[in-house]
């Protein structure tokens, strides 16, 4: 979805940034969004406050709220997928396997 939407919008993103410690995926505010997402997924409340404040400073409160909403959505969707054993159809499996190899995520329990 990142690859498709970024290409369609004229700013092709570097999907490898999803797996890297640093980077911005070639997107405006990409680094701040990655830092915010990482902080939400972590347990360090002080780090979360810092990441949230940094995002609000550069992008505004409404932007931060919508980023938090997207995180909440994927805290939900990941559990729907993993909790029901969701799998790709045969048509999509090859593409997804290739992407998994590229991103080095084929070893996830949920990939099997």
């Amino acid at each position: 979805m990142l690859s498709w939407s970024s290409t369609e919008s004229g700013t092709p993103a570097d999907i490898m940034a999803i797996t890297e410690e640093a980077g911005d995926a070639g997107l405006p505010l990409g680094a701040e969004l990655i830092a915010f997402t990482d902080a939400i997924a972590g347990a360090d409340d002080a780090a979360l406050v810092a990441a949230r404040d940094a995002l609000v400073t550069v992008a505004g409160e409404a932007f931060m709220i919508d980023a938090a909403a997207v995180v909440a959505n994927f805290e939900m969707m990941t559990r729907v997928a993993d909790g029901t054993g969701a799998r790709f159809s045969e048509e999509g499996a090859d593409h997804r396997a290739a992407l998994g190899d590229k991103l080095h995520i084929s070893g996830f329990t949920s990939a099997h």
Partner: protein
């Protein structure tokens, strides 16, 4: 801080849904499951995935989905079902967990007060299930018939229409609707679509969700 009205309402409705009688579980049981899910999500030092902390299959399943969803295997699902849990009970537990975590996750992320869980509403389970169920190839759990005609995440909770409705109501407010998803340029005037997908991909990676 001003939070969009549609997002506030979707989260309020989701927690009210948790505290209402489900298809197979009473509201009191659903709230008990939701409390486990909320606490598991927020725990600083959670139990490891292989521990079943409650000795109560429904609560153990809720805990693992809430905290260690990426470690769940089909073998573990089958083990729980073999122990006596009905597959639709499993589906309802997933529905309760994913109705509870988004409002909590959003509140913690945005720095607003964590929502409380409403008091459970009296009443018997509704028995509301899909008119016809079918085994699926794209999910472990049974789904509404016919199976495997739509994506696995779309059919995942279809056996229990009220859980399915709540899931997609939340998705529409937090992310986007099905219709909006087809437009790569759609956005709310804040994050661009690629920025939304970057956040989605990063969170999915951290949660070790291959899907």
């Amino acid at each position: 801080m001003i939070v969009r009205d549609d997002l506030v309402e979707a989260h309020r409705v989701s927690l009210a849904h948790v505290a209402s009688p489900g298809a197979r579980l009473t509201a009191a049981r659903r709230v008990q499951i939701a409390e486990v899910a909320r606490d598991a999500y927020l725990a600083v030092e959670p139990s490891p995935p292989w521990v079943r902390p409650f000795g109560d299959p429904a609560l153990d399943v809720a805990y693992r989905i809430a905290r260690h969803a990426g470690t769940i295997t089909e073998q573990w699902y089958e083990q729980i079902i073999t122990e006596g849990m009905h597959p639709l009970d499993w589906v309802e537990i997933v529905g309760v967990v994913i109705a509870t975590i988004p409002p909590v996750a959003f509140a913690r992320a945005a720095g607003v007060a964590l929502p409380g869980l409403p008091a459970p509403i009296d009443g018997e389970p509704t028995g509301r299930e899909a008119a016809e169920l079918a085994p699926a190839k794209l999910n472990w759990v049974p789904v509404a018939a016919p199976a495997d005609k739509v994506a696995s995440v779309v059919q995942a909770l279809s056996a229990l229409p009220d859980e399915w409705d709540n899931l997609w109501r939340l998705a529409g407010a937090q992310y986007m609707s099905d219709r909006q998803m087809d437009d790569p340029l759609w956005n709310r005037g804040t994050l661009s679509r690629p920025q939304m997908e970057l956040v989605a991909g990063r969170l999915s990676l951290i949660r070790e969700c291959f899907f």
